[in-house]
C-alpha cells in the first residue's frame, strides 16, 4: 500500500490540471504578449485563472499577480513593499515561526537594507501573541506579516485579529499573510479581513510546481524586485508561465469545490488519527488538536526515535511523511518552530509531520496507525546510548 501523507510538502496534481497544462504547453503555446491570435489565446488562460482566483478571494482580478511560487510571492511582498514605503518608516514586524521564505527575506532586509524587524513570539501551541504585536507597533512600522497556517505544526494564526490591531493602530501599515498552507483549506477574504497582500502556491493545492500568486490590494504601494519586459503591470516582469497559470487556476477552482465537505472529512480523519496516536506511549501532538489547527496537518513527537529513522521505517512500508518541515529537512538542525513553542527536548529531534489531502482515506490512516504500532516498539528497542 502506498500512503502519501506529505501533502504540506507538495501534492499530487489533479489529473485534469495535468491535462490542461499539457494542452497549453503543446497546443496553445503562444506568448501572451504576442499581437496575434496565438498570443490572445494564451492571454485568455491568464485572464480566466485570475478571475477564478479573484472570485475565490472575493477580490478584483487585477489584484492577482502570478509568480514562481510561495517563495517569490513572499520576497516580492516584503522586499517590494519595504522599498516602496521606506519613506514612511523602516520597521517591519513578523512572527518567529514563519516559513524561511519570510524569515530569511526579513533577515536580508535587516542586514542589507537597514530595516528594523521585530519577530513576535508564540505561545506553547504555536499561536502568535497578539499582546506582543500591540507592543511592537510603532510610528515607524510599515509592514506586518503573519502566516495563515504554520507549516510545521498546523496552528492557525489569528490573522483577522492581528490585521485588526494593525489597522486600528495605523490604517496605512500594510498587512501581508503567507497563506501557502491556508489557501485551499480556508475561505479567505482579504478585503473583509484587512489583508493587503496574500501569498499562495500552486503545488500545495494539487496544481503545478513553479507557479503561485500574490494578491496585492489595489492601494498597496509596491516596487518590483525583478526588472525586464514589464509584464503584469511591471510588478513582475518575465513572460508569464501560462501553463502553470492555467493549471493553478483550475486547481484553485477544483479545490474550492465542496471545500467545506472536504475539510470536514479531513477533520474526521484527523481526529481518528489523533485518537490512534494517543494509544502509543510517550508520544505527543504539537499545537492544537481542535479547530485551532489546520485540518490537514498533524505534528507528532515520538520520544526515543529520531525522526529520520522513523521516517525511513515508514517509507519502507510505503508511507511518506516529513520530519519537521520538508523545506528544512536538508538541514538536520532542530526545528525552530518546535523550539519556539517550547516542545520538550525529547521531541525536538523526534517529530514527524503527517499531512493529508482530500484524497486521503480512512484505510490509509488505519494502515498508517497499524504501521506505527508495529514500528515504534521495534525501533525503540534499539536506541543510541
Amino acid at each position: 500500500m502506498e500512503v502519501y501523507l506529505d501533502n504540506s510538502a507538495t501534492t499530487m496534481s489533479y489529473p485534469e490540471v495535468g491535462e490542461l497544462v499539457y494542452k497549453v504547453m503543446c497546443r496553445d503555446y503562444g506568448n501572451p504578449s504576442s499581437m496575434h491570435r496565438k498570443g490572445v489565446e494564451a492571454e485568455h488562460y491568464i485572464r480566466e485563472s485570475k478571475e477564478t482566483i479573484a472570485r475565490i478571494l472575493k477580490v478584483s482580478a487585477k489584484e492577482i499577480f502570478f509568480t514562481s511560487g510561495g517563495t517569490e510571492s513572499d520576497n516580492l511582498a516584503l522586499i517590494g513593499c519595504a522599498r516602496a514605503n521606506r519613506r514612511a518608516g523602516n520597521h517591519l514586524i513578523t512572527t518567529s515561526i514563519e516559513h524561511p521564505a519570510i524569515l530569511n527575506t526579513m533577515r536580508y532586509l535587516e542586514e542589507e537594507e537597514g530595516f528594523r524587524v521585530t519577530y513576535l513570539p508564540v505561545d506553547s501551541k504555536g499561536k502568535v501573541k497578539l499582546e506582543a504585536l500591540k507592543e511592537a507597533l510603532c510610528p515607524q512600522t510599515i509592514l506586518v506579516s503573519v502566516m495563515y497556517v504554520n507549516n510545521e505544526v498546523g496552528t492557525v494564526q489569528p490573522v483577522r485579529e492581528a490585521a485588526e490591531i494593525v489597522k486600528k493602530y495605523n490604517p496605512s501599515i500594510l498587512f501581508h499573510t503567507d497563506a501557502v498552507q491556508g489557501f485551499g483549506k480556508y475561505h479567505i477574504y482579504p478585503k473583509r479581513m484587512g489583508i493587503d497582500l496574500l501569498t499562495a502556491s500552486g503545488h500545495k493545492i494539487h496544481g503545478p510546481k513553479g507557479i503561485g500568486f500574490l494578491y496585492i490590494g489595489e492601494k498597496v504601494k509596491i516596487k518590483p524586485v525583478m526588472y525586464g519586459g514589464e509584464q503584469q503591470k511591471n510588478i513582475r516582469s518575465g513572460t508569464e508561465n501560462v501553463p502553470g497559470i492555467a493549471g493553478l487556476g483550475l486547481a484553485a477552482k477544483m479545490i474550492y469545490q465542496d471545500l467545506d465537505m472536504k475539510v470536514a472529512l479531513m477533520r474526521e480523519l484527523k481526529s481518528h488519527f489523533l485518537e490512534g496516536v494517543a494509544k502509543i506511549e510517550n508520544t505527543t501532538v504539537h499545537g492544537f488538536t481542535d479547530e485551532g489547527s489546520a485540518p490537514h496537518i498533524i505534528s507528532v513527537g515520538v520520544a526515543g526515535i529520531r525522526s529520520e529513522v522513523l521516517l525511513h521505517a515508514l517509507e519502507d512500508k510505503g508511507i511518506y511523511v516529513s520530519s519537521g518541515s520538508a523545506c528544512s529537512s536538508n538541514h538536520p538542525a532542530v526545528s525552530g518552530v518546535l523550539k519556539g513553542i517550547g516542545a520538550a527536548r525529547e521531541y525536538l529531534d523526534a517529530t514527524l509531520r503527517f499531512s493529508m489531502s482530500e484524497f486521503t482515506t480512512k484505510e490509509e490512516i488505519d494502515y498508517t496507525l497499524e504501521t506505527l504500532y508495529n514500528c515504534i516498539p521495534m525501533l525503540r528497542k534499539y536506541t543510541r546510548h
Partner: protein
Amino acid sequence: MRFHSFLIKYGEIGIKGKNRYMFEDALVRQIRYALRGVDGNFLVHKCHGRVYVDCDGEYDYEETVEGLKRVFGIVGICPVVRVKVAELEQLKEDVVHYMEQMYPEKNFTFKVEARRANKRYPVNSMEINCALGEAVLDAFPDTKVDVHNPDVKLNVEIREEVYIYSEIIPGPGGMPVGTNGSAMLLLSGGIDSPVAGYMIAKRGVEIEAVYFHAPPYTSERAKEKVVDLARLVSKYAGPIRLHVVNFTDIQLYIYEKCPHEELTIIMRRYMMRIAEQFAKMDGCLGLVTGESIGQVASQTMQSLAATNAVCTLPVYRPLIGFDKREIVDISQKIDTYEVSIQPFEDCCTIFVAKHPVTKPNVERMEKSEQNLTEKIDELVRTAVETAEVIRVEYTN
C-alpha cells in the same frame, strides 16, 4: 594558439624494464578512455618511446586537458604545435610565430632544445639550436638566452613533422590504472574513503567498492551520496563496481548480543569479513580503507589491529599517516569534499556508544563474538547474497 597534439610525459613507466610496453599500452588505453566523451577526434599512439595524442580537426582544448589531467601515469602534458618539415628559413619563421603567440610579454630568458629524430634533415641539432635561438633573439630584442635556467624551454623536434612545444601542464603522476591488479575499497559516505580509493588507483590499481547501508537508519539519500562519491572517484579510477550491502540486521544483532562499547569494532570486523568475501569472489588482491591512525576510536592502533585480525587479504590504508587537513586538501582537489560533507547519517555512527572502547584486544572481541554464533553466519550469508551491485562510471 591552436595546438595539434599533446606530448604525454610519463615518469616512472620510463624506468620499467622489459614490462615497459605493458605500462605504455595501459597508459594509451587509459588516455583513450579519458577522452572518449570529449568533443574531437583523437589519435592516441606510441612513437619512439613516447605517447602522443594527435587532435585532427576541431576539438575542445579545455576538456581535453581536463581529461588528460585525470589519467594516472601522466607526469606532464605538453601542448604541441605541428608544422611541416621545411627549410631552416621556414622553420625559423614558424618558431618566431609560435613564440609570438605563446608569450605576448617578451622579456624572458629562453633556451632552444632541438632534437633531430629524423636524421635525413640536413642540419644537425646544435646548428638548429643556434639558428633558431638567433632568430628568436632577432625577432624579440628584449629576450635573452639562458642555457642553464631558462624561463622558457623551447623544444623543437624534427620527426615526420616538426613538433614545437614549450609548456608543460602537470599531470597527476602515478601509474596507469590496470597495471597493478584490483582492490576492494570500503566506501562510506565520509571524506576519507574516497580519497583512499583515489590514492590506491593512482598506483595503477583498479577499484571495486563496497558500501554498507542500514535502512531505515540510513536513508536512500545516503546511498545516493555514496554512488555519487564512487562516480567522482571513477573519474580517475575508471568504472567501479559498487556492492551495496544491507547491514541492518547484522548491526541490530550485534547491538543485541554484544557489549555496547564494543559495537563499533565488532561491526567493523564484520564489514571487513564481508568486504573480503566480495574481494575474493572478484579476484581482488587486497582491501582498501580510509583509516588514519588515531583519528577516531575505531582507528587507534589497537582498534586497527582488532579489525585487521579478521582479514587474510592485505588491508591497504593509504591515508594511514595523514592528518585530517591533508585528507581534506586532496578531497577538495578531486571534488569529493562537497559531496562528502552532505549531512546524511552513515551506518558507522548510528549506534555508536558514548564511550566506545579505544584499546580493544582481539581475544576479547572474539569472545564477544561468540555470543553471535547462533545467527551471524546466516545473517552474513544473506547480506552477501542480497547485495546490490551498481556499476558506476563517470561520463562527461
